[in-house]
Assembly symmetry: C2
Homo-oligomer: 219 residues x 2
Amino acid sequence: MTEITLFNKLLSKNDRIAQEIREYLHDRNILSVNMIGSPGSGKTSLLEAMFTRIGGKYTSAVIEGDVKTNNDMLRIQAAGIPAVQIQTDGACHLNAEQVKNMLSQLPVNDIQLLIIENVGNLICPVAYDLGEDIRTVVVSVTEGEDKPLKYPSAFMSAGVLIITKIDLAPYVDTQPDALKSNALSINPNLKVIMTSAKTHAGIDELTDFLFSHNTNSDR
Amino acid sequence: MTEITLFNKLLSKNDRIAQEIREYLHDRNILSVNMIGSPGSGKTSLLEAMFTRIGGKYTSAVIEGDVKTNNDMLRIQAAGIPAVQIQTDGACHLNAEQVKNMLSQLPVNDIQLLIIENVGNLICPVAYDLGEDIRTVVVSVTEGEDKPLKYPSAFMSAGVLIITKIDLAPYVDTQPDALKSNALSINPNLKVIMTSAKTHAGIDELTDFLFSHNTNSDR
């Protein structure tokens, strides 16, 4: 078997399980979001800010993905949100089977939103459908304006771009608008939200966007 | 063939070519450095600052690795340094064969230092020896203190940790010393250099360190 044949076989298995997850979550009116971004792009801080803002208004759960540690799970739990951790022990992305195995550990009958925070990586997670409804790519202004051009697949496959750490824009050479323009040149259909976990800029916009997509958000 | 068998076969081929590169470069007294870091960790800016500081004092060349674009090659060439670009077109790391194929395009009889800037990724490049003498892991203070704990392999396999963007430390919650301590808890043998491409802090220390390792640096 060649490398490409093997990869296609793995992906085809992954896609099948992802579809099972999607149906399982839809049956329970749960909106799921797959967050993809580099290490340190601010994914967990963004979630902490979001959960601080929404308080008890909506019900959510989080699946955390990391190569090692359960630090991020503990941070989300400290924010009062049910969370579980997948440690990939070397692998650079989550796969659908790992996500499926976690569902029984989450309060799936009581949540409206499931966030899956992928392993910090702007390349590998792209090929793996996790059964999500919305894929977001997360990029901080400190990473530079050119990231959409250098890592186009993540931006092509996402529906939403969350630009983080806009409070740091005055101290770096990145113009958030230039980062946004570069992303839209790769994928003109991206919904772009500018955020700061520190000042809470854009967090309400993000929350409103996510929960407006959940058909069950009024229950 | 299983996935693991296939991966081991690929790695064994890679290791063989990496050894050829190492011998080829040693025959010419060229020190080679493999730079591994997340997207936006500041690898190219660090090189620009280094080449600005050393001017014509030493002779260098750069191999740039990216999924897409030759932006970084153009930035290094603009600094007056010979540079070539490898575009991996999806792959999340460079391999030794790609590096070997580039050597004929570089002035290998006139350089003392070859820098290989890997694809922006803190996971995949770790398994691939590129024939380097020194492996550096590059992390910016904006990525957070916990990255060595969450991505330990890169820190375990490196000899040098370059902490970048220390000028931004006052604006983020990261203490550079805590980042350093976490890295040393993973690999106590790491040489740690704190840098800022903006203020040029630590750039001379980095240059002195690299060229002190080159037996031919006085020619």
